[in-house]
Amino acid sequence: MSHNNNPHFENSPILLKGEKVSKLFGGLVAVKEVDFHILQGEIVGLIGPNGAGKTTLFNLIGGLFHPSTGAIRFEGADITALKPVQICHKGIARTYQIVRPFLKMNCLENVLIGIIGRPQREKSKKKEEEEASEFLRFVGLGGKERVMSADLTLIDKKRLEMARALACGPRLLLLDEVMAGLNPTEINQALELVEIIRGQFKITLFWIEHVMGAIMKASNRIIVLDQGQKIMEGSPERVVADPRVIEAYLGENHAYGKGN
């Protein structure tokens, strides 16, 4: 796949690269021979109908599952067979579609885990706590340090996961539907965060989102999955206009219509 559909980043090095990545669960093909790459500094969106294999692809990158065939490279190194902890240490952090904060720990402790988990640490405990507080403030959870994460709303739990992922000090951040359930104002706030994460933190983003307006606005490039296969890749404008993408989404509606 050529890079020329994304002129801003044509000189950036490839950060993450998947080569013919497939994942089979028994007889079910969840991801089928997907080639993809993320350039350093990009924001790349991953969209597709439900069950298209988006989260599975994230789980393959994150090491929760391992590809049945194919390879995944990060900064040139093969990470296909690595475990989640090793992948985190390599510089990839993530959030989960179905949130997984540490429920019986307070917000500060949740974020501290990300800092404790770093391969290199040199700061004092106090400085680490201050840093964790800063991440909480950044995602809009300032002042909730001592609140148990189980007591947070779903949206705040997503924010907390984002703070924890940032605390890991990643170079690539995988965000899985962080904007679901947000109102338009909150979506705009989230988009600002995304821009700061890229601009100031210098973190590359790969994100799954169903909120089309948001993903079209913020992404440099979009990858479309349908039934485990990559059907399209390109700039947001090209993707929304592509008949295959429209079919994949409308086809789903059509199928529902047939079911009745």
């Binding site: 994150g62 090491g63 929760l64 475990k83 989640p84 902890v85 992948i87 985190c88 240490h89 952090a93 993530r94 989960y96 997984r100 904060p101 540490f102 429920l103 019986k104 720990m105 307070n106 402790e109 501290l112 885990i113 990300g114 404790i116 988990g117 770093r118 391969p119 405990k125 001592r146 148990m148 189980a150 007591d151 924890r164 992922a165 605390a167 890991c168």
Partner: protein, 314 residues
């Protein structure tokens, strides 16, 4: 934060009181009860480290106490080693076997880990029971005491000092980064792993430390009662330790300590009912699980106006 300090203060007062209280005011019988209670404090608190803080419900904890007791006992009986050296060695042997069992159980969670440790515990008990040369089977191994002149007062102070040191160690551990990692593993192993926590390492560390403490407690116990029998590594013993931690409050620091004192003292009062004391235990356990499923410390937490009980608070 303040409640955490409060619970530390309460424990400090209790143990300080025990240290200052003139033991000659206690009868020999109650002195014995206090010594055994302190043994259970160490057992329940160290079991809480793996079960309450990393979610590994091991049934091999009494077995590790047995390993410590028998290792030290055998060294002193057959090799003439001083128990003062034998007990730390026994503790180290327990730690090593704990490391091995912990490693074996890495990929297991929940019920599978419990069953594997249960199997380990039973295999050990059967070996000890049927072995004759080294363990003297069901007759038990007679071992020397720790003091030239037998005195329950000396044992009382020894157990008290060691128990306090163990508790300080556990407290510092639980409130360190390692302790936070333990809790993250307990909460969500997958999320902990993808946040950069080496969950395998964390679980094995917890298992090893906990086994070492069980071995230490077992060794002390053996050289106190001076007769080590297969009852030490028995499942009956294991369930008593489990009940202490659960009734007191698993995953809280003070819970297992309270539970240990409570059940040990209680058992002395209901001893007169013979076999019925099991029924009584059952009733206590049933009542607690029905009305205070998170243990007594959770109830105490509720009364002090705290909704949720974590390490933070107690």
């Amino acid at each position: 934060m303040e409640k955490q300090k409060l619970s530390v203060l309460v424990l400090a007062v209790v143990f300080g009181g025990m240290a200052l209280f003139p033991p000659f005011l206690l009868s020999q019988y109650w002195l014995h009860v206090m010594i055994i209670s302190l043994f259970y404090v160490m057992m329940a608190s160290s079991w809480n480290l793996i079960a309450g803080y990393t979610g590994q419900v091991s049934f091999a904890h009494a077995a590790f106490a047995g390993i410590g007791a028998y290792a030290s006992g055998i060294l002193s009986v057959f090799f003439g080693l001083s128990p003062w050296l034998g007990i730390p060695i026994g503790s180290a042997v327990s730690a090593l076997l704990g490391l091995a069992v912990g490693y074996l159980c890495i990929r297991m969670g929940g019920i599978y880990l419990s069953l594997t440790t249960l199997g380990f515990s039973e295999i050990l008990r059967i070996i000890i029971t049927n072995e004759d040369n080294w363990t003297r089977g069901t007759m038990g191994l007679q071992v020397p005491g720790l003091f030239a002149e037998y005195s329950k007062t000396s044992y009382y102070y020894l157990f008290l000092v060691v128990a306090i040191l163990v508790l300080i160690l556990l407290y510092r551990l639980i409130h360190s980064d390692l302790g936070l990692s333990f809790r993250a593993v307990l909460n969500d192993e997958t999320a902990a792993s993808s946040s950069g926590i080496n969950t395998v390492r964390i679980r094995i560390i917890a298992f090893t430390i906990s086994s070492a403490i069980a071995g230490l407690a077992g060794g002390l116990y053996g050289h106190y009662v001076m007769l080590i029998s297969p009852d030490v590594p028995s499942l009956g013993q294991m369930f008593l330790v489990l009940a202490m931690a659960v009734i007191g409050g698993m995953g809280s620091f003070a819970g297992p300590i309270i539970g240990a004192f409570l059940l040990e003292i209680l058992s002395e009062y209901i001893r007169i009912y013979g076999e019925y004391h099991v029924l009584f235990y059952g009733l206590v356990a049933l009542t607690i699980t029905r009305f205070a499923p998170d243990g007594l410390m959770a109830v105490a937490g509720k009364f002090s106006g705290k909704k949720r009980v974590g390490v933070e608070t107690l």
